[in-house]
Each structure stands twice: as structure tokens, then as C-alpha cells.
Symmetry: C2
């Protein structure tokens, strides 16, 4: 029996695989609202030559355009890797209500691993970690192993 | 005698005033490299209906385009208000070497006030706080006072 969170994380993994195919660090994200996938995105930092172009930032940008406002009320973000401080801050700023992530980020994870931004008096999304953790970690490990 | 940091902060304040004139929370930023102002930006979150459109993010986006890469090596960012976690994270991700800010942000300041992201094992920009603090605070206070 596969959970709804796992089903949506598989969609985020499809995005991560698009990044991998373009030789980008394989991270993918989707934003879901009322059972509908509003936005899909993957990391394109190298191709775009832009430090902001993480999967989460691109998905939030798209969702703001689609919903026509900066408050992403009722939205859940699924992302294959734990958000960094930039992306966690963008999630908080956009009032995304729930974040589901796959692999922990030991170097920059900002929702529980390196730091937890929900410990501070900011808007606090609900965090569900480690959904399809093994698959989400493995795609990153394979990418970095091939790079060495 | 006015310092170079004060001169550049005056340029960031010019940007903040553009935000104020458009009824946006008045925060402005510039990015300087080798004595040249590479990018100028101000907060347009409401007009753009986009949670990402803080002054710093817009300036970093512009500087990445101008320099043609995601590493903003040798760059200093001047901003009238202490960066929030999203913007502080973007500064770290883009390898901006130095950040000069004006007013502290008691609610969301991520370079020393609410939290200090330079306390963690991430890239650490050099931080110079409180340049033209009074002017940078005053423009925000006046804006919020007029809103009440």
C-alpha cells in the first residue's frame, strides 16, 4: 500500500531525474493544492547560471504566478532533498502550510538536520521528513559518485 | 566625512524609497563589485504578487545574469534591512563575500538578530551591520505608521 505522500514524492523524483539527465544536482519539487499538482520544478543552477534556481524556489515562483498572490495558502511542497536555508526561508515567506521531504541534507538542511527554522518565531509549516528517503538519497549518491 | 559603506548604503536607500513610492515595504539593495554598482533592486512583493521578490533576491538574480554565473565572487551586497532567512540563504548560496545592512530585523533577521546563519558550517560572508541604521529604520517606521 503506497501512501499519498509517497505518490506525490514519486512525482518530485520524476523532476529530480530530469535534473540528473541535464547533469544538475538531482533535486525535484512539486507543489500540491486540493489534490492538484500546481507546479513542478527541478534544480537548474548550472544551466541557468543562477544561485537562486533550486527546485523549491522555481516551484514557488510558478505557484505564485498560478495562484496570483504571494501567499500559497493550502499548499504542500514535496521535495526530494531537505530544503537549504534559502528554500526553507522562501517556504516560510510564502506561507506554504506543509513540507514533505525525502533525503536529509547533512550540510545545509534547514528543517531539522543542520538547523531547524521552525524553532524560531516565524511562520511554521508542518514538516514531514524522510518520505521515500532511500530513493531520494540514492539518486544524489549516484550523481556525486559519477562525478568523482 | 562619509564612509564608502555609507555612500553605498545611500544608494540602497534610494531603492528603498522607490519601494515606498509604490506602497511596498521600503527595503532596497545594491550589489557592488570592484567599486561598480552591478545591480539595484527594491522589494516588490505586493505588486509582483510573489513571495520571492525581496530586494536582495532581485539584486542577486540580476547580478547572476550580469556576471554570467551563480558565484558572485568579489561582490558586496548593501541592504537597508537585515536579510530574512530566505535572503540570507540566497546570499550564502551565491557566495557573496560581504553583506552590509542598515536596520536590524527583530522579527526575521538572519544575520545576527533573530538567528545568525554565519554560526553554521555554511559559506560565511563577512557581515557589517548598522550602517545608516537610523535612516534605514526610519523609512520602515514611517511606512508602517502610515499603514495603521
Amino acid at each position: 500500500m503506497i501512501s499519498q505522500d509517497e505518490l506525490y514524492m514519486r512525482e518530485a523524483l520524476i523532476e529530480a531525474k530530469k535534473a540528473e539527465a541535464e547533469d544538475e544536482v538531482p533535486v525535484g519539487a512539486i507543489i500540491v493544492r486540493n489534490g492538484e499538482i500546481l507546479a513542478r520544478a527541478y534544480n537548474t543552477r548550472e544551466k541557468d547560471k543562477n544561485a537562486l534556481h533550486h527546485a523549491e524556489i522555481k516551484a514557488i515562483n510558478e505557484a505564485c504566478k498560478i495562484l496570483g498572490g504571494w501567499r500559497l495558502v493550502g499548499c504542500t511542497l514535496y521535495v526530494t532533498l531537505e530544503p537549504c536555508p534559502m528554500c526553507a526561508g522562501a517556504i516560510i515567506n510564502s506561507r506554504i502550510e506543509r513540507v514533505v521531504y525525502g533525503a536529509p541534507d547533512n550540510k545545509a538542511g534547514a528543517f531539522g538536520t543542520m538547523i531547524n527554522l521552525t524553532d524560531y518565531p516565524l511562520f511554521k509549516p508542518q514538516i514531514t521528513p524522510f518520505i521515500l528517503k532511500d530513493e531520494c538519497s540514492q539518486i544524489l549518491k549516484s550523481f556525486f559518485k559519477a562525478k568523482r
